[in-house]
Symmetry: none
Subunit: 119 residues, 2 copies
DNA sequence: ACCGTGTACAAGAGACTGCTTGTAAATATC
DNA sequence: GATATTTACAAGCAGTCTCTTGTACACGGT
């Protein structure tokens, strides 16, 4: 068994992540950096907002754990840190009586071992 | 509610749902009505907030489409409308396409449910 | 050292949020 | 009709959010 360790305490509360995502500008930023990392300036250039405003949005996303930052010279390169979306997945699976989450619950309460495996 | 959206544009669907969910009191309300419908008074009775404050939270959730309302005499019965979580699923699958398969993996390994703490 | 570029920090304006108290509307009961 | 119950509406206050302008800091090139 692999020890999968969660450091959820280091991650932001669900509030921070959900609120960070509840803004179209910020979702657009995440869209820009979800596949490539980008310097703040190039992100800001795609908006009609000022550079400072975009920097502040980046700050919110960073604080929610949704962005990783890498410094390269004077530039700061940002990329999506998708694992920070974990609280969103939790909220979704808690409130959506999906087939999948029902299955999960059934497995937890009934069998310690999976009945199926992939061919 | 007092903040009527007069001058700003109406909240887009993902915004309203994500913002509604970004509050612990409101998530608690959803938790209460996710399996049974409840009258507003019984919901309010579980909080230390005033009845009016809870009514306002209910209004936010209702406007986000997360609650259905059914009138029975003087009571109003609320229940979770889980399909309103669709925008959340979209956000999750856009930024973390692997999230659902990870949930499946969690099922297969019989991962125990993490403890949840809310105020 | 100087200057230009890239970026964040600082402070303030205006709108919004979440809460409170006060009140009104709708339904039920007498 | 009168009264109680249940709930939402209204207004106001303090704190927070998003944006702006102005500025400072860090690095790289000349």
């Amino acid at each position: 068994m692999k020890g999968v360790r969660k450091q959820s305490t280091a991650l932001a509360a669900p509030d921070a992540v959900l609120r960070a995502l509840a803004d179209p500008h910020r979702r657009q930023i995440l869209r820009l950096v979800q596949h490539t990392e980008l310097p703040a300036g190039r992100i800001a250039a795609t908006f009609t907002l000022t550079q400072q405003a975009v920097s502040q949005h980046i700050g919110v996303l960073k604080q929610a754990g949704l962005l990783t930052e890498r410094r390269e010279g004077t530039r700061r390169l940002y990329a999506l840190h998708h694992e920070a979306l974990e609280p969103v997945r939790e909220v979704l699976s808690e409130f959506w009586p999906d087939a999948l989450s029902r299955l999960k619950k059934a497995v937890e309460t009934a069998h310690p071992r999976p009945p199926k495996r992939e061919p």
